[in-house]
Symmetry: C2
Subunit: 177 residues, 2 copies
């Protein structure tokens, strides 16, 4: 027995973010409201090269007011699969395209107030297309480093985003064999 | 060289969520806007008992419209440390209070559009206080299960929130010795 969503209404529609109010019920009685953010799902990939280097991106993240080092990622476009998004974003942001994708995990990143799920992949068999394509609003810098160094950066706390932390831990498990 | 936040303004103030607009600049020139959600930071703990069982909570999460099985967690109150929040929430939600906390990691859960960071702990030396205290709006059900079963539930995809996935993987690493 748990609450159910009775009705949804738009609280605020920004240029990028959509805020909704959910009216909950329990056994047919009102059980409070919740405010949530409706966002598209996302996909990300850890591109691991044959020489055990990884292709990352460094970018300023206004929400946390910090420059972060992350795996390539992006929002899933309409009609796209998570794997297609991951491969496309990887190519656009780093200039390499994974020919093979292995799904690592799908998770909710902010289950308390957001609809968003993200799917992580390990990308291998990398093709160098060199076709970095960034939006005018994107200031991304490709960074290549040994996978071992990425592990150290996760352990030391330098890497702080959940997708890069999780994909690194899960890839370490896989490649430890 | 990267963008900087020039000004912030409140776009929408809900009962729980605060939406802000950030105006960015690059080299003194306008560099676009971002919409972000300002939320309090959070803390969570994986309470691991001497018999290798863990104390979790099952609850309906309206944002993802699913019942989730998670480690106890909550927002950090003013004047509280992350560890104090984690211990307090653990006691309120499961009835056991960890006497020892080991910090596992701190991460940004939605760096693209949220200010929120969360700190995870491994909690041990559990004290049974039995003082479960829930808000009227909280419908939480304590669930106790073997840590090994939690690992299986992470591997099978039944556990979908980042804090429970990450704390489980990191605790497995620690306790594998």
């Amino acid at each position: 027995m748990h609450e159910k969503i009775e009705t949804r209404s738009v609280l605020f529609r920004g240029r990028y973010l959509l805020l909704e109010r959910l009216n909950l019920s329990l056994d047919g009685r009102k059980a409070g409201i919740r405010e949530i953010v409706r966002v598209p799902d996302a996909a990300a990939v850890l591109p691991l090269d044959r020489d055990k280097t990884v292709h990352l991106v460094r970018q300023f993240r206004p929400a946390v007011n910090r420059v972060l080092l992350e795996i390539p990622a992006g929002l899933i476009s309409k009609g796209e699969s998570a794997g297609e998004t991951a491969a496309r974003e990887c190519e656009e942001e780093t200039g390499v395209r994974p020919r093979r994708l292995r799904r690592l995990i799908t998770y909710a990143h902010a289950e308390g107030y957001s609809t968003g799920f993200i799917t992580l992949f390990l990308g291998t068999d990398l093709e160098y297309t060199g076709s970095v394509q960034l939006d005018a609003s994107e200031h991304l810098y490709p960074v290549r480093l040994p996978f071992q160094e990425l592990i150290h950066k996760v352990d030391s706390g330098e890497i702080v985003d959940s997708k890069t932390i999780l994909s690194t831990l899960l890839t370490r498990e896989i490649t430890a064999d």
